[in-house]
């Protein structure tokens, strides 16, 4: 089973939050005080701890008029529900996808309207409270593999539409698989620690000083799109400072680097046009590069289906993220001449046919490597993995028959792969740093599928 995008980013935070709480729990009084603090910080959540009759009322009171269902389906696409709630070869939304984490395996639940195994007995109100508070109708805390810190921003109207859509999918009688988390991570109470650090309940608040388009983009990016789950680094203290929002980070377990979305110098969108961002998100290819790794999944399942207006709004919002440092400048690094010569030779033999003698690419299908942030950003993880593993951009409505890049892992040694990656990171004015054979060797073990 492939690990999925949404399962990983919270895991380090969960670990650190969990450790904090585990330490607190050693002192029962403090542990009790901590739980009380959690309850006061999330008063709405506290009210849902005890199940009420309406939570499991069989009259689910969803408004399933066709236009609302259609909107709900669209919003479920925007939230990429399918990526986690449908297993390979599994029934639509029946769950069962295994999500590997450093603490064990989580299995996504069945969200079809089956009354026994799915959410068939949930009310519209219960579904909304789950989205807003990250709690199930019985009060149980949801593991943050579900993007609860983002979905809390979703409006009541949108939540109701998604629920209405989910009422119309085929009910599947498939029991949920039990999570196999190791102790102590199988203790749901640990989630109080995580929630105290990272869960801030509340609907998206539009910024009246910004345009309607910007606010729509912010709502989609910060809410249903849950982009931050991969694109914000979690720091060593287990917090994510606002300064680092969308500044990129390594996705644990999967070992892909989610690049910065800000306008900053390391891989950010600073000198991208709105059209470039729109093309990348929606078509999967752009004049600046293609989506790959976990982002290919997001475009494939979610972004390709969004309207031109919504994708543009997301691009407008992303483009407005603060520019801290501007693009990198100055002379390129000067690697070992022997390494550079080897890399140059390999590039000429194997890469130039598609990417051009001077890294200029051949648009639209062969991205330029000169000035390409994916190549020159500080983390060398992505360029190394693309050389080793190759990859197809996702097949999308706008690019249904993508051109695939061959994997070279089987024909290049660690030293050769390191040489060619070093070459493309430092040639043509690129500002990346050299990579070592050891880094290449480590990434040969990264999970693929």
């Amino acid at each position: 089973m492939k690990p999925t995008l949404c399962s990983m980013s919270w895991s380090r935070a969960f670990a650190i939050g969990g450790i904090v709480l585990a330490q607190l729990l050693h002192a029962p009084l403090i542990g009790g005080a901590h739980a009380a603090a959690a309850a006061t910080t999330t008063p709405a959540a506290a009210q849902t701890t005890a199940p009420t009759d309406t939570d499991t009322d069989t009259d689910t009171d969803a408004d399933t008029r066709p236009d609302i269902v259609k909107r709900g389906e669209y919003l479920a696409r925007a939230g990429d529900c399918i990526a986690c709630h449908t297993a390979p070869r599994g029934k639509l939304f029946a769950g069962g996808l295994a999500m590997e984490t450093p603490f064990g395996t989580l299995y996504s639940p069945n969200i079809t309207p089956d009354p026994q195994y799915g959410i068939g007995t949930w009310s519209e109100e219960a579904f909304f409270r789950m989205m807003r508070t990250g709690r199930k109708p019985d009060g149980a805390l949801i593991y943050p593999a579900m993007p609860i810190a983002q979905y809390t921003k979703v409006t009541r109207e949108d939540s109701d539409a998604i629920f209405a859509f989910l009422r119309t999918v085929e009910p599947v009688r498939q029991p949920n698989r039990k999570h196999t988390l190791r102790f102590p991570f199988n203790q749901r109470d640990l989630l109080y620690g995580w929630r105290t650090l990272y869960f801030h309940e509340g609907e998206f608040k539009p910024d009246p000083a910004r345009s309607v388009e910007w606010n729509r983009g912010a709502y989609l990016v910060e809410g249903l799109g849950h982009c931050t789950m991969c694109h914000t680094r979690i720091n060593a203290l287990g917090g994510s400072s606002p300064r680092e929002q969308f500044a990129g980070g390594l996705i644990p377990v999967q070992n892909w680097y989610a690049p910065s979305l800000t306008s900053d110098k390391d891989g950010g969108l600073g000198d991208w046009s709105i059209k470039d961002i729109v093309d990348l998100l929606q078509a999967g290819i752009s004049d600046r590069g293609a989506v790959y790794g976990p982002m290919a999944e997001v475009t494939y399942h979610s972004l390709q289906y969004l309207s031109d207006e919504d994708i543009r709004a997301m691009a407008v919002y992303l483009k407005s993220l603060p520019d801290q440092h501007g693009r990198k400048s100055g002379p390129s690094a000067t690697p070992d001449p022997q390494v550079l010569a080897l890399g140059k030779q390999i590039y000429a033999d194997k890469c130039a046919i598609c990417h051009g003698a001077n890294g200029e690419g051949q648009l639209p299908h062969y991205p330029p490597l000169a000035g390409n942030q994916s190549i020159e950003m500080n983390s060398a993880v992505n360029p190394i993995r693309i050389v080793l593993n190759g990859g197809f951009p996702p097949g999308t409505k706008r690019n249904p028959q993508p051109f695939g890049m061959p994997p070279f892992g089987q024909e290049l040694s660690d030293a050769e792969a390191a040489a060619v990656v070093t070459f493309i990171r430092t040639a043509w004015g690129n500002h990346g740093l050299p990579v070592t054979a050891r880094e290449v060797n480590e990434l040969r073990k990264a999970p693929l599928h």
Binding site: E297, G395, P402, G404, M405, P407
Partner: protein, 245 residues
């Protein structure tokens, strides 16, 4: 640029041949006819991620990991591509490459390689006991009715070049690749569409059977006519999900 033109020319000639031959042998493409009618331009470039391992013509490599894919029935190839994508077959580098490609494109890729017929490699010539090879030939040509094992040729065609639309040819493959696939069926890591007839058969084969069959197959000379046989009129010995009847 000239590569693209050559690729398109090859494709055009192949398509033209298909139209011209239109008779019995070529008519029975069955479910493969569901493939989109038009092929996008520059398919040879689009599938470089495939051909860098399986050969420019899909002829396979001289090792056990990258088998010949050229000339196999399109529906069979589509079934394999979707199985790698969705978990019916497990080989992470393939699953990774195919993860986000839609069915329509996989059908085009399947058709592209089904229409290629590059020369076969030299047959295997390892020094093996004649008794073993005779046992392999017997299983391939006649099966073992006492154990309920049908002859390979009963489904894979008398020439062993496969059967339209869903059954692959058995020639041009390495013995260890064939044996490896039998092993994955027995261990349950390779699944065909249900009912999975090959799993039923593989479970009845012992290690000796697999060594015998795979080595005998790998020694067979290149077939005079490499195309898959048309879909059979009669019933198969076992029900197979890949070859609905």
């Amino acid at each position: 640029m000239h590569r693209r033109i050559i690729g398109s020319l090859v494709l055009f000639v192949l398509l033209a041949l298909r139209v011209l031959c239109g008779g019995v042998a070529c008519a029975a493409t069955g479910a493969a006819a569901a493939a989109p009618a038009t092929m996008p331009p520059a398919m040879d470039e689009r599938v470089r991620a495939c051909t860098s391992c399986h050969g420019v013509q899909g002829q396979g490599r001289n090792n056990d990991y990258f088998p010949r894919i050229a000339g196999k029935p399109a529906e069979y190839l589509f079934n394999q591509l979707s199985a790698f994508r969705d978990g019916g077959r497990t080989y992470p580098p393939m699953g990774y490459l195919l993860a986000f490609l839609p069915d329509d494109y996989l059908r085009q890729i399947a058709r592209y390689f089904a229409d290629l017929q590059p020369p076969y490699p030299e047959s295997g010539h390892a020094d093996l006991p004649p008794k073993l090879l005779a046992a392999g030939e017997r299983l391939v040509m006649r099966g073992d009715p006492a154990r309920g094992i049908p002859a390979c040729v009963a489904c894979h065609g008398a020439r062993m070049t496969g059967t339209e639309p869903g059954i692959p040819g058995l020639l041009g493959l390495h013995a260890s690749y064939i044996a490896g696939q039998m092993g994955t069926w027995r261990s349950g890591t390779r699944h065909a569409l249900a009912p999975d007839c090959m799993r039923t058969i593989a479970l009845k084969l012992n290690d000796n059977d697999i060594t015998a069959v795979s080595n005998w197959l790998a020694r067979q000379p290149r077939p005079a006519d490499p195309r898959p046989a048309p879909a059979p009129a009669g019933r198969l010995p076992l029900a197979c999900g890949s070859q609905p009847q």
